[in-house]
């Protein structure tokens, strides 16, 4: 994708990512950071260095906005908002190129789909949808 990721980011998000001191408290507090391709701290470092690879990392899709990192961050950066914004940029790009969205509902296990609270399902869709 031929986009300036930082510019796009600041168009839709006010989080002061440049004040990050890379202390890693976000990665440490994240309950699922060991599943991420790059940790939240690294993701922010990639972002401020204008590396558009951040959009290709699973990190932005795995963040479930539990805010554990936001509550610890010394510079009051809310990583969940950073992930929200990056997801949004990704989805917008795909929509522009008329590509299908990532989420394939058929792949979700049926027994989970039936039992699960519908709020969960709405939340999931909202994370994957471009408005």
């Amino acid at each position: 994708m031929e986009i300036n990721i930082l510019e796009e980011f600041f168009n839709i998000c006010d989080e002061k990512v440049f004040s990050c001191i890379n202390c890693g408290v976000c990665s440490a507090s994240c309950p699922i950071s060991n599943f991420m391709e790059i940790t939240p701290q690294k993701l922010i470092f990639f972002l401020i260095n204008n590396k558009k690879e951040v959009l290709e990392k699973n990190t932005i899709w795995l963040c479930a906005s539990c805010l554990n990192c936001q509550a610890r961050c010394r510079k009051s950066i809310d990583f969940s908002k950073v992930a929200d914004a990056l997801r949004h940029i990704y989805l917008k790009e795909r929509a522009r190129k008329k590509l299908s969205l990532e989420l394939e509902i058929d792949k979700i296990k049926r027994e989970i789909l039936i039992k699960s609270p519908q709020q969960l399902f709405i939340a999931l869709q909202r994370k994957f949808a471009y408005y």
């Binding site: 168009n11 699922i32 906005s65 929200d84 699960s116 609270p117 399902f121 709405i122 939340a123």
Partner: protein
């Protein structure tokens, strides 16, 4: 006391047991919950992007419905509580966004609505509850708070987001043993259950492990959130998991 009540979608469907227990408990305690007119989805998660005011519309519309009748709104679902509170907070704090949100609305949100968690109503009635409870010989209680009620700081129901004590205090005042475990506010994995089941399993495993650390034999896990309830029930079989109102009701009924 009469309160406007916002059930949210999940309590009407997959978490019906939760709503039923809320309704019964409130009836017993003489709390009248009147369902909000024309309520609809709170939008399930809070998202705020500068270029998209529509992300907060659902929550704000519900609050506008509320202001027609009252300035308080009771909810029991953790997600609704979190989304309503944070959306309202953003609405009043971010003036630019507010103007843009208002462009979508027939009516403005004029004043802050006090959003009350059902648990706060129970806290006020603790003496009545104490006299109603028949059965107390229960294994210790592990209260799983999850993330939605504990964060973000400043808006959340609890001042301490790592080791909150409010539910523990409540239940120990009712004469129950409670367990302090390390991961009581750690995320359960939420909707990743659809896309990355192994992550949710890992999250639940760690939560359960931290409970096992502190428990000798059995214990009961209590939750406030349909999302946590689902993940904890689905991915572990060691302990029973109940909604806290469901548990209270069984105590009152002596079951």
């Amino acid at each position: 006391m009469k309160y406007l009540y916002y059930p949210g979608c999940t309590l009407k469907t997959t978490a019906k047991v939760f709503e039923d227990s809320i309704k019964e408990v409130s009836k017993i305690l003489d709390i009248s919950l009147v369902e909000l007119n024309n309520w609809y989805c709170c939008q399930a998660i809070y998202t705020s992007l500068n270029d998209n005011p529509s992300l907060l519309l659902g929550a704000i519309r519900n609050l506008i419905e509320t202001q027609k009748e009252d300035d308080k709104l009771v909810t029991a679902c953790s997600a609704c509580y979190n989304v309503l509170l944070r959306s309202q907070n953003t609405y009043f704090k971010d003036e630019k966004l507010r103007v843009r949100i208002n462009a979508y609305l027939e009516e403005e949100l004029k004043r802050e609505i006090k959003i009350i968690h059902f648990f706060e109503l129970l806290e006020e009635k603790i003496d009545v509850l104490n006299s109603l409870i028949k059965k107390r010989d229960y294994p210790p209680l592990a209260f799983y708070y999850g993330c939605l009620l504990t964060r973000p700081k400043g808006i959340a129901l609890f001042s301490n987001d790592i080791n909150p004590q409010r539910f523990e205090n409540f239940f120990s005042q009712l004469g129950f043993l409670t367990i302090d475990f390390a991961f009581k506010t750690r995320c359960c994995g939420s909707y990743l259950t659809y896309t990355n089941e192994e992550i949710v399993k890992d999250c639940v495993d760690k939560i359960i492990l931290s409970i096992k650390e502190r428990v000798n034999n059995s214990c009961v896990i209590l939750t406030t959130c349909p999302l946590c309830q689902f993940n904890l029930e689905n991915y572990q079989k060691d302990y029973e998991v109940f909604y806290f109102t469901q548990f209270l009701l069984s105590l009152i009924k002596g079951e």
